[in-house]
Amino acid sequence: MTVPADAARRRIVEIFISEEGPLLRRWSQISGAPIDELRDLHQALRTALAGDADLADVRGLLGELSRARARQGYTPSDTARVVFSLKEAVYEQVEADGQGDALRGFAWLSRLIDDLGLFTFETYSAAREKIIIDQAEQLLELSTPVVKLWEGIVAVPLVGTLDSARTQVVMEKLLQTLVDTGSEHAVIDITGVPAVDTEVAQHLLKTVVAARLMGAECVISGIRPQIAHTIVTLGIEFGDIVTKASLADALAYALSRSGVQLKGAATTRVAVRAERD
């Protein structure tokens, strides 16, 4: 570093330290961030500037700040503005100082702040991505409930895409529920599955076979006309697995298999459904 540049750097650090009070107030005003949060940042930055320009502490604080903001739902611009607004606050002090050294020093500090701003941006988006991944995992858990329809009959309403990971979760939950409730009948409802391709079919078949191994009988329900069409054209065979058009049919079937007598309504309901389809 040349001597004048060194002097410029010294001058800007002097301003940075001596004008701490007004600088912090102005910074807080422009960025809209609480002054306490900024004081910590200022402290870390000051130590780094006065010393060997090691920005590890500053980056640590900024990382925390942007992660917290990503979680609280701030926009990326709001988050980056916290850093970039320091430039404006410092520039006002530099202008008041009015010397060439300070201005040259400002150019140097400005580059440093840009780097920190970009770092904030990166941390912010990394934090956002982490949130999305976490939510996808939560969704996987949430979207596969196993519900008890009747004594000895459980149902799994499947909604959305059925991939390997989901099938694994569904299968585990279903098998565990079969044990817990001592159920002998399970209804897998695929009304909410938009397309049944060979992978989905294979997953379904495996789940049914696994349930059978545990002594439970599975019925697949919610086969809509277009799905039935597609399954036949693809050439998928469900073999001896019982399939029904609606969940109501599947329940009626499971009830009759487990020996529950329904008074009157059951046959009528099936007829009504057939007409509507």
Binding site: Q226, T230, L234
Partner: protein, 133 residues
């Protein structure tokens, strides 16, 4: 007609995106619900084949037309190992990927036009078309 739209197939998530795209375009050109489901299922099979057998590739989604009838054309291409025996690959129940062995043969039945170009080491290119009735 608008030009083809290209989508990458690199992850399972991409297969879902391809499915959604094909469904929306199929609905746009007025395919019936059954035909929509068929072309979406075929797209799902072929996209997964690209992913499983070639490790990734791309698909072009294009609206086509023969005068009065609109249609939907999908071109799946990859730079994977290719298929050495196409006749065998097109047989029901033949699988090298641990599936049901119906993906390729079933897809051919789901669409109106099916064209497969492949050679060992040359990658695979499958063009399928579904016409509105």
């Amino acid at each position: 007609m608008s030009g083809p739209q290209e989508m990458p197939i690199a992850t399972n998530g991409d297969v879902v995106l391809v499915r959604q795209k094909v469904r929306s375009v199929a609905a746009e050109i007025g395919l019936s619900l059954v035909d929509q489901t068929k072309i979406v299922t075929a797209a799902s099979e072929l996209a997964r084949n690209v992913l499983v057998h070639a490790g990734g590739g791309r698909v072009e989604v294009e609206k086509v037309s023969t005068g009065l009838r609109p249609g939907l054309r999908l071109v799946f291409s990859d730079e994977g190992p290719g298929i050495s025996d196409i006749a065998q690959a097109m047989t029901d129940g033949f699988t090298t990927g641990g599936g049901l062995g119906l993906g390729l043969s079933g897809s051919r039945r789901l669409v109106d036009e099916f064209d497969l170009v492949s050679a060992p080491g040359e990658g695979t290119r499958i063009t399928v078309t579904k016409w509105s009735r």
